[in-house]
Each structure stands twice: as C-alpha cells, then as structure tokens.
C-alpha cells in the first residue's frame, strides 16, 4: 500500500508581510471545492436583437446626426468606388491613373464602419486590418465632427509641419470642418498612392495607413495582426490611466489566427479583476469588433472554414461574462451605434473586454484580382438589394428627415470632393513620391535612435517603496562588483555581483524613472523571472507594472507593440529564445516595421528580453541571434559580462528602438571578470554597436558573440601556454548595429581572425561578420576569416552538448587547420575543406 510520505512543501512561510502585495498564493486552490460536481451554465447571446425604427431613434439622434450618418457612409462608398474604378478600368471620371498597389475594398460595409466610429472620439483608438479604408474614414469623420475648429486647425497645421494642410487649403472655400474632411480624404488617398504627402509619407500604403490625431491607429496587412496589438493599446490606457477605449477591427476569418486568440486570452486574464489593485482593478477597455463579412478571402467562414456558425459564440468560450458578446446587424448603422452605446457603458464599469460580431457583407472581391469564383452572382445581388446606404436613405426620406433631392445633392457634393482630392493626389508635382535614394531616406527611418530618460514626463512612477529600501537592492549592495579580490582570487558565487544583478539594476532604475515602463512575461512576478532577474521587483512594483502573462508568446510581444505605439515603454520577456517561433509574426513582421512604415511617427521603445538556454535539449537550447539579426528594423545585442549587461540594458531602455536583448542562461551568475574597478553603481550606458576588446594580443584575433566568450578565454590560455601565441579577444556585445572599426584594426595587426558563437554555423550572423571582415581587410589577412559555430544539428542532451557547441579546443584546431599550423598540435575536430564540403553536401 502506498504510504503518504509527507512531501516537502516548496513554499516556506511568507517572509514578505507587506500589506499591499496580494500574491496568487492568497488564492488557495481547495481540492474539496474543485472536485465537487456541478454544471457550467451559459447565458443566451443576442443576435440581431436591435429592432428600433428611425422614428424611435429620433429622440436619440438629431436630424443632422442622421443626415451625417448618411453622409459619412456615402463618403466611404464613393472613395471605395473610385479605387475600384481605377483598379478595374484604369480611370476615374475620365482621368486615367494606374495604381499597382494593393486595394482591399469594403464596398457594402459602410454602415458597420460608420456605426462603429459614431460614438468614439479622439481618445478612442481603432486598429484595423487590410480592409480598413472605411474605418479610417469613418473614424476620421467622427473625430472631425467632435473636434472644435481650433483643435482641427491645430491638428492640420502641425501634422508634418502643415505639408498636407498647405496642399488642401489652396483655393479652398468652405468651413474648417469641410477642409478637415478634404484633409482626411487627401491624406488617406495620397498614402494609398504611395505619395510622400500621404499620412505616412507613402511608406505605409493602403494596408498600413493611419492618422493618430484622429485616433486612427495602424492597420495591419497581416490577418489578425491587430488582434494582440490592440490589446496592448488597451493595456496602455488602463495601466497609465488614460481616457478612452480601444477597438480592434478584425475580420471573421481572423478568428482562426493565433494572435487573435492569444490576444483574447491575454485580454481576459482573471488577474485584472482578482489581483490588480485600487484603480487598476478591472477589465481592459477593449472592444474586439469582428467586421464579419462572412468571407476570409475566398473561404466562407460560416459553413466552410470555421465552426462557430455565429462568431459571437466565441465569447461564451472565453470567460464567465462571455465577453458580453453579441451579434449586431452591421447593415443597419443605428444598430451598430446602439451596440456601441451599450458596450461603452460596460467598459466604463471596467467589465471589459467586449466581443462584438458585426454582420456585414462586401460586394467587392477580396482584392481587384478576385474573380469571386467562390460565391454566386445571386448572393451578391441579394445583399446589394438590401444595401445599407440605399435603405438608410429611403428611411430618411420616408421619415421626412431629408428629401431625396437633398440626399442626391449631398452625394453630388461628395463625388465632386472626391474627384478633387483624387486629382490632387495623382498630381506628381503636388503629391510627389519620396526619393529613397536621396539621403538614404528609408534607411534613416528604420531606426529612430532616440534617447529618452522617460517616455512620459510630468508623472511619477507608481512604486511601493523607495528603491533603497528594496530587499534585493540591499542584498546587492553587499556584493563584490569585481569578481576577484586584490590577490586575484575569485570571490564565492554568492558574494559576486552577477550578470543578473546588472540587468536588475538597469531595469529597476528605469522603473523608478519612467512611469510608463511595465514588464511582463511568464513567471515574471513572484517567481521573479525563471532566471531570477526580477527577484525583488515584485516587492517594489504594483501588479499593473509587473505581472505574469499567459503562456502566449505571440500576445506577449504583440501587446508590447500596441503598448509602445501608444507611447509607453515596455519590457516583454520570452523565457527561452527558442520560443521566438511562437511570436514569429510579432517579432519578424510587426515590431521591426512600424517605425519605418509610419514615416517615423511611431516609436517602438520595446526591449524584448530573451534567453539562450543550455542543458535543456533540442527545443530549449538554441541561439537564434541570427534569425533576428537578419530582419531589418531590430537592434540586437548579446552581452556576456555584468558590466556589459547593465550598460547595454540601460542603453536599450534609454532608446526608442525595438531591441531583442539576448541573455545566456549559462552565465546569469557570472561575476565581472574584466572591468577591474567593478560594475559602477551609478547609471552608465554602453552604446549599441560597439564591440569590446576584452584581451589584447598580437598573433590572432578571436571575435566572439555571447557566452562563448568564456570558452574563448580557455582557448587563449592553451594558445598562450602551448603554442606561444598571443590572442586578441573581441567581444561583439551587439550584433545590430555593429561597428567594424575595432575589428579591422585588430585584423590589420594580427592578420588572422576566428569568429565564434553558439549559433548553428549555417546562415548565422557569424558568417556576416566574416564576410564583412574579408571585404574590409582583405589585404591584411594571412588567411580567410574562420567561423566556428555550433553544429547544424538539434541541440543534444546536456551530457552530449560539448559535441554541439563550440569548445575551446575547436578554436585551437580551427586555427591550426585553417590559418597557421601549430607545432606539435594534434587536432580532435575536423575543420578541413573536404569535411566542410561534406557537411554542406549533406545539409548538416
């Protein structure tokens, strides 16, 4: 019979008795409760329940309001029609124009867009998809209506120093609001036509256009891309107590995507209501607005590619509140407005997020090349028969709110306006395209290279106690900040100031400087991070600044993007860099691109911390620096010493660019072995892009990336003691950017270079370094640069790791075989030509 030995209780009694910290430990999981029998009950989800007539609504809307709704829908309709004509016939109103770029049109969906935007103001942010022209215009028009003339003038004259304002106001006679409408149409159209005078200097285009002064945040060409980014924006508003809500306008087919589900998981975390405190307690101010046009490109969501039947059903599977989900008839603008009025109240009560399934339909194909082979003509016609603009217009005239003549005149005016804006936007002199060759314009926008002590001044950071009182800070103050004593003997690991302490100091310092800074990831709070970097921060910070995210790497990074876009600094953590694949789109397609795609309007102060494993096998021990170094728009660094880690983290947190910050699990506990005066207690930065000569030498240069540095230090001992060869060791520290000057100088001196790191050799950044050194220092080389990386295998188990990762003797062998023979040396590894050829032939 199995006895019940008393299992050790991993949790010792609480040492931290501060009142304000309520830990999940306080949420005792009672087996008696959990094992009780019961049933889950669901509430009915309303579908198309709105049934008011225009007459009913006349007490909620003035006539002008109702006419405005018609007007806004007609503006969108004409705009999209114009683009459709250009794409299909090559001309609009007899004026020829060729637009080769994308144009995903939303003809038929106007009511949904206008209804969505009606209740929103400039504090409310919308994020969109590739099909969001209607939403941009609707939100813009709504904002124009709500802003005063003075405010509008200010927006227009200040945007890009009034470039667009000057274009649209020429020969303009009309009100400020009418000018603002022209401004909105022109800025959007010029952007679609890739003109430098567009809202994003032509760098965003149709699928990424946005205009933040009106609360229009970026659209996303990646399906579902806004699904987690919008959550981050909502998080920003909540954490920084900003007014307004966030709407994610995504499609029905995007409900299959990871980022959307991860975004929903993140947005509906219990902790917002169970653990976050004070003002911060409560749900995110977020509406996930499914613009359900019932097709995902060509796939029919209901009936073919999805299983929910009615997308609002999804809410029921997520949380007790069923995300307040509803299906709304998006063909009736008043139904949508009604829904928004009700859901806004829900958000104001901090009961969000909300899921709205807005039913609509598009007559236009997915794209101009869409032959609509996936639906019948009859179906399209059936929906056209119920066209929302026509229907609404008829309702207005029937109710006597507007005559047909009035409406027709309105539409005429809209068409004229659109045509005027069109002519301006296609004029190469008035609306030129940027010259990428000149002054390296695009290159200059890839990174903002800003320097900010804090992203938001005039606000004090929320902290629980002064930094000096923090237990970890006190603990660190007793540590030795240089690893060796005056006799050169190393202090014990516990006494040494470690690399993780350097990271802690930089991050803690910034938490106390920048009120917008928040950090999250898996096991960040309480546990203090899987590698104890954050130990002590739990005591220092309230929940809303340091919390545990779900195991959803896509959302961890995606929310950080939205958070940063809105003006906050954020440190998301991916526990193992091996998990970068889980946040692939966010890291490769989103984070690096927004600064440039926005014409540098948007900054991206995100420091994505990832760590490189060891001893954890094939899926937990890879060095993926090369993957991120390949993607333009990211800064990448990999410090290997406490001094470098603190300096680079400070620089990363001071900057405005996205940084992928690599740390190695091998060396979180390493002491400072190189800087004799020890790691400074005060603030200092190490600029990005500067490698560091750690050891000077004469005979060979060894350039290393990351934790491999310490194996290089072993190798140089062998070179010195056995072969009388003095090696110069350069620690790369950064990968992107990278300044070659010191490396070239070294190669001029030694003529020989080995480049090493833990990344698998093939396709690695190490080869990039080698190639550049060859080109820049060819005449000084005594042998081509030799790359020593990991084998192109899976990382084997801990016990076999030394066959996989570069070892000290590999470096010596490589020098012996490929650079200069070492007397008496017997190689153990094969670095010869035929072995290199063989491996490449085999693809390993």
């Amino acid at each position: 019979m199995i006895g019940i030995e008393s299992f050790p209780n991993p949790h010792s009694p609480l040492t931290n008795k501060k009142k304000h910290t309520t830990m999940p430990k306080a949420q005792f999981i009672d087996p008696k409760e959990k094992r009780k029998a019961k049933e889950l009950k669901f509430k009915p989800i309303p579908v198309n329940k709105y049934n008011k007539s225009i007459d009913d609504e006349r007490k909620n809307f003035s006539d002008d309001d109702l006419k405005r709704i018609y007007h806004d829908m007609a503006v969108i309709r004409e705009f999209e029609n114009m683009l459709n004509l250009i794409k299909t016939t090559g001309e609009y109103n007899g004026v020829e124009y060729n637009h080769p770029g994308p144009a995903h049109l939303s003809i038929g969906q106007e009511a949904a867009a206008v209804g969505m935007a009606y209740e929103l103001d400039t504090d409310d942010y919308i994020f969109g998809s590739h099909r969001s022209h209607g939403e941009i215009l609707a939100k813009g028009l709504s904002a124009i209506h709500k802003l005063s003339d003075k405010a509008l003038k200010e927006v227009m004259t200040e945007f890009f120093d009034g470039v667009i304002y000057d274009i649209v106001k020429k020969n303009f006679k009309g009100s400020t609001k009418e000018l603002a409408v022209k401004f909105l149409l022109y800025g959007t159209l010029a952007e679609i036509f890739a003109r430098e005078t567009g809202f994003n200097k032509g760098l965003g285009g149709s699928m990424h256009a946005f205009f933040t002064p009106f609360g229009v945040y970026p659209n996303n060409a990646i399906v579902g891309g806004s699904g987690d980014i919008a959550v981050g924006a909502a998080l920003y508003k909540k954490v920084n107590s900003k007014p307004g809500l966030v709407v994610a306008n995504i499609g029905d087919a995007s409900m299959a995507c990871g980022p959307v589900w991860e975004g929903i998981s993140f947005a509906t975390m219990d902790q917002f209501t169970t653990l976050w405190e004070g003002d911060q307690k409560g749900g995110l101010p977020l509406i996930i607005n499914i613009m359900n046009n019932q097709y995902g490109m060509g796939g029919q969501t209901c009936g073919e590619t999805m299983g929910y039947e009615i997308a609002a059903r999804i809410g029921a599977g997520v949380n007790k509140d069923q995300m307040h989900a509803e299906r709304v008839d998006g063909y009736n603008p008043l139904a949508v407005i009604d829904a928004y009025r009700r859901k806004k109240k829900v958000l104001e009560k901090k009961q969000g997020p909300v899921l709205l399934d807005v039913l609509t339909y598009r007559y236009s194909g997915h794209s101009p090349s869409d032959a609509s082979s996936y639906r019948s003509k009859e179906e399209v016609e059936a929906w056209q028969q119920q066209d929302s603009i026509v229907t609404f217009g008829e309702a207005l005239t029937k109710a006597g709110i507007a005559t047909k003549k009035e409406l027709d005149k309105m539409v005429e005016g809209i068409k004229d306006n659109t045509f005027e804006v069109f002519k301006l936007a296609i004029n190469d002199e008035i609306s030129p395209r940027m010259d990428p060759g000149k002054d390296d314009v695009i290159g200059g926008m890839m990174l903002s290279n800003g320097s900010l002590d804090t992203v938001e001044e005039d606000r004090k950071p929320d902290v629980n106690h002064p930094l000096e009182e923090n237990p970890r800070v006190k603990q660190i103050s007793k540590k030795e900040r240089y690893a060796f004593d005056k006799d050169g003997k190393p202090f014990s690991k516990m006494k040494q100031y470690q690399l993780r302490d350097g990271l802690f100091e930089a991050i803690a310092d910034r938490f106390y400087k920048d009120p917008t800074l928040i950090a999250y990831g898996e096991e960040n709070r309480d546990w203090g991070g899987a590698f104890a970097v954050y130990r002590g921060l739990t005591e220092a910070l309230p929940y809303h600044r340091l919390f545990n995210s779900p195991i959803a790497e896509g959302a961890i990074v995606g929310t950080a993007i939205g958070y940063a876009m809105c003006g906050g600094r954020v440190v998301p953590e991916i526990m193992y860099c091996d998990f970068l694949g889980r946040s692939g789109d966010e890291v490769f397609n989103q984070i690096p691109k927004w600064q440039a795609m926005s014409g540098n309007m948007i900054k991206m102060p995100v420091v994505l911390r990832v760590s490189v494993g060891s001893k954890y096998g094939a899926q937990h021990s890879q060095d993926w620096t090369s993957l991120v170094a390949h993607i333009p728009g990211l800064k990448v660094c990999f410090p290997a010493t406490p001094y470098d880690a603190k300096g680079l983290m400070n620089a990363a947190l001071q900057g405005t660019d996205p940084v992928v910050f690599f740390e190695s699990q091998r060396i979180y506990d390493i002491g400072e072995q190189f800087v004799e005066k020890g790691v400074p207690a005060e603030y200092y930065e190490i600029p990005f892009g500067e490698p560091d000569v750690k050891v000077e030498g004469e005979d060979v240069t060894i350039l290393s990336v990351g934790a491999t540095l310490y194996r290089v230090m072993d190798a140089i001992k062998t070179l010195r003691d056995d072969y009388n060869m003095s090696a110069e060791v350069i620690d790369a520290r950064s990968l992107v950017p990278f300044n070659y000057d010191k490396v070239i100088e070294s190669v001029k001196k030694t003529g020989r270079i080995v480049i090493t790191g833990d990344a698998t050799a093939r396709g690695s950044f190490l080869n990039d370094l080698a190639s550049n050194v060859t080109n820049l220092a060819f005449d000084y080389l005594d042998a081509p640069p030799v790359v020593v990386g990991s084998r192109n295998w899976i990382t084997p188990a801990h016990e076999l790791e030394n066959e996989f990762f570069p070892q000290p003797h590999w470096i010596v062998d490589a020098i012996h075989q490929r650079i200069v023979p070492l007397e008496g040396h017997v190689s153990r590894e094969e670095f010869g030509d035929s072995e290199q050829l063989r491996r490449n032939k085999m693809g390993v």
Binding site: N724, H816, V826
Partner: protein, 491 residues
C-alpha cells in the same frame, strides 16, 4: 666497401639542386673521374665525377628531382653490397639497383612526409627546428617546414600529394597547385613586396601549401635582403612573367608527312635566370648605347710584342681582350661614376674595380667577376680571366662570383665573332656595360689631307641614363678609347 655519392654544396646559399642527367646507370663500372651525373643550381650547372672505382649500385633519385645538398644521391660499391643504409629518407627512386625507375611517388611522399612526424596520420603537421628566440615579432614560435627536411618530389609545378582531407601544408613543395599558380595570403604578399623576398622561392606552410606571413618572415631571416631598390620586386615580377608566358597555343604538332613539327623544351634553371635578368634589365632601366671607334694600332702592336715574347718562352698569353680590359679598369678609376650601381634612391660608387666579363658556355651565358681587378697587373688579370672562363665552361666556377652585384662594371667582347656594333644589355644593378667589337679598317685622316685605312676597334657602351648623362658617358667612352690608343703595359 660501398660508398655513398654525395650531392655537394655549391655556394653558401645553395640549399638544393636539380639533378639534370645521369651519365651512368646501376650496374655500370666506374673509375675515378668518370662523370657520374650533372646537376644545376639556379645560377650554374655542374658535373659530379666518381671518386673511386667500383660499380654504380643505385641511384636514389630521378632526373629532374630537386635534392637538398649533402644528400646521398647514389651508391658505388661491389655488386651485391647492401645500399639500404645509405638511402636517404626522401629518396624518390626505390633504389633497388635495377632500373625500377617507376617509384610510386605519392606513396613515397606520404610515407616520407608522415613517416617522420609523430602526429596523427590524418593531419599534416609542420615539423621544424627549435624555437628561435621569442623576441622576434609575431610568429617567432610558429614552425615552418625548412626545405631540407621534406624532400618530396618536385618537378616545376608538380602538386605535392597530400592525402585526402588533409588541409595543412608542410608538404615541402613550393606552394603551387596543378596550374602552377602560387598560393599566398594577401598579407604575406604585401610583406614580401616590402622586403624584396622572392615569393617563388618561399616554402608555404599554411593550408593547401599557402605561403603565409610566417613563411616570409622565415625567408627574411635566411636570405640577405636584396639591395634596397626595386630590383627584388622586379625580379619577382619578371620571374612571374616568365612563368605566365605559357599562353601561346600551338596546333597539334604531328602531321603525316613531317611527323612532329615542333616540340616543347622546358627551360633549364639557367635559361630561366638569364631570361629574367635580361628582361628585367631592359624593362626597368633607361639604357641606351653609344658607339665609338678606337684606333687599334697600339694594341695590335703590343699583341705582336707578346707573340714575339711567347716564342721565347713567355707563359702569359696576353690577348687583345686583356688589353682592352686593362684600359677599362684604368679608365674606371678616373671615372668613378661609371664604376657604380644604381639603387633607385641612391648610387653605390665603388672605390675598387670588380670587373665582370661575359663568358659563353654550352649551358649559356655566364658573367664571372674578377674581384679587385685594379690591384692586378695585366698578367695577373689575364690569368685570372682565363681560369675563370675555364671554370665556367667546365661548370666548376664559384657561384658566388656570378652574382651581378659582385661586379662594378662588365665587359662583353664579341670581337672574335666579327660583330661590328651591338647594344649589350646592362647587368643590373651596374650602371653600364662595355661591348667590344671586332677590328675593322676605317678611313682616317693621317694629316695633311692624306687618308688611310686604320684598324679601328668598335666600342659599344650601354649606360643607364638614370645614373649617367650622355655627356658623361661619352667622355667616359672616349677616355677608354684614348687609353686603348695609348696603352702602356709591363710584360
């Protein structure tokens, strides 16, 4: 008792020679002075003769092999005696005593190369001597394989047969692959240019036989660096040009009627060297020739006097050339600028006259030097020049005397062949060379409107205009002529 046949060391700097031809084969009987084989350095060729009687038992090498000096080339003894104890490690012929000839070269090379290494058979390791002092820059401790210890077979351009997968050098070959291209790192090449090291003579110890910086530094220690002008690089460039000149295509030489129309004859080392020197001289100087006639009646008269004395038992055959050379030497003492070397940024003016003179031999042109010729009387000059000429023809001249830097001035006499005028090529770095032509009758004004035919010797002075101007050269040449016309000698 069997005795080994040693390859002698000819000259201080010679480290290896090429065996050109064996005159006897195993089984042949030899006596003292029987010619055994011929061999050449890059400066001269020689013959080795037997020192004792016996039977030639074996050769350890083949014609065309490059062999380090002081290596056993073969064995002479009684038939049946063992030869194994004499076989050198780097023998390329099996040396079985028969005419096996067909040595398995690759096997031998691998065996010889890896045999004396203690290392892993997979990896070729450079062997080497003891570590030179640490003070030397950079690669003082990196060992490179000296030529002497790795005697793999080298024909010009033959690859060193290193086993599969072996990427290190220490093959002992010159660093050439099959196409005859040189493997050298950019850094090493730069250093060699700066230090005037001839890369075609450097052994490469880097991967694939690549010449690396350490190899150049080693060569710098052994070779006295060239005179600090462009000469070193020039010679390098010239040698490279020679190697590269095999660009001409010839149609298939065989045809039905005439059989082989032409055939390729590889250059001997001497030919290569002469080709280089001539080409370099013409490419890299500003030389031109002045022609001037000297009245030869005086020296003809002196020659008659010598002949008369010879009939009385006088031993020295003082020739016209000896007289001309004497005149030249005396004139050089008064025209020091012509007794000099041009060094690019300076000239080296000699106090003593070291006279070089051209000797035509079967193997090619040689120019030995009479050192301190201005100390010699004409008899001494005559006998020295004669013995040097003989030594050249026999192949036994001291190679150190053949270097162009040894002479301060050169004389080239083609008078015997009837040449009337020519443009001799300067022996760089010397600033001039005197060509001596045949004696022809030329009309001369004998005074008072009378003209007669007078024996006139043509003198062709080629000088380097970088060092000497036309006026100076002309005065020098005229002074030689005057000296010849008024020569006084003690016989």
């Amino acid at each position: 008792m069997a005795h080994p046949i040693l390859l002698p060391r000819q000259g201080q700097s010679v480290e290896s020679c090429i065996i050109t031809e064996f005159y006897v084969k195993p089984g042949d009987k030899v006596e003292p002075d029987t010619p055994l084989f011929s061999y050449e350095t890059d400066k001269a060729s020689f013959e080795e003769e037997a020192k004792e009687s016996g039977t030639l038992l074996t050769w350890f090498f083949e014609e065309g092999d490059e062999v380090p000096v002081l290596t056993n080339v073969g064995v002479i003894g009684e038939e049946g005696e063992s030869i194994d104890e004499f076989r050198p490690e780097n023998a390329t012929a099996l040396g079985s005593g028969g005419d096996s000839g067909e040595a398995a070269l690759s096997d031998d090379i691998d065996a010889s190369v890896s045999g004396d290494r203690s290392a892993d058979a997979d990896i070729n390791v450079a062997s080497g001597e003891a570590n030179p002092e640490k003070g030397a820059k950079n690669v003082s401790s990196i060992k490179t394989a000296p030529a002497a210890s790795a005697g793999a077979k080298i024909a010009a351009g033959t690859p060193s047969a290193v086993g599969e997968g072996q990427s290190t050098a220490a093959s002992g070959a010159t660093s050439q692959n099959e196409q005859g291209k040189l493997f050298i790192s950019p850094r090493a090449r730069k250093l060699a240019e700066a230090k005037h090291i001839n890369i075609y003579r450097v052994q490469g110890t880097g991967p694939n036989g690549r010449i690396i910086e350490a190899d150049i530094r080693k060569a710098m220690e052994h070779e006295p660096s060239m005179v600090d002008n462009a000469t070193g690089a020039q010679i390098q460039a010239a040698e490279k040009a020679v190697v590269q000149q095999q660009a001409y295509q010839y149609p298939d030489p065989s045809n039905a009627i005439y059989d082989n129309d032409s055939k390729n004859v590889p250059l001997t080392n001497m030919r290569k060297r002469i080709a280089n020197a001539m080409h370099v001289s013409l490419q890299n100087s500003a030389q031109l020739t002045h022609h001037l006639g000297a009245d030869a009646r005086r020296i003809l008269e002196l020659r008659q006097q010598v002949k008369a004395k010879q009939n009385e038992g006088y031993e020295h055959n003082i020739t016209l050339n000896d007289m001309v050379c004497t005149a030249v030497i005396r004139t050089l003492k008064k025209h020091q600028n012509a007794n000099a070397h041009f060094l690019g940024d300076s000239t080296r003016v000699f106090q003593k006259v070291h006279l070089g003179f051209a000797v035509d031999t079967d193997r090619g042109l040689m120019v030995p030097t009479v050192k301190n010729a201005d100390d010699l009387a004409i008899e001494g000059l005559s006998s020295q020049m004669k013995s040097l000429a003989n030594a050249c023809k026999k192949g036994s001249v001291n190679p150190d005397l053949l270097a162009p830097t040894e002479a301060s001035f050169t004389v080239s006499n083609l008078g015997n062949y009837g040449v009337e005028m020519f443009t001799p090529v300067i022996n760089l770095p010397q600033v001039a060379i005197l060509g001596v032509n045949t004696i022809l009758p030329r009309p001369k004004d004998l005074g008072n409107g009378t003209y007669g035919f007078v024996p006139t010797m043509g003198l062709s002075l080629t000088y380097d205009h970088r060092a000497l101007d036309g006026g100076e050269a002309t005065r020098f040449l005229k002074a030689i002529a005057t000296e010849i016309e008024n020569l006084e000698i003690n016989i």
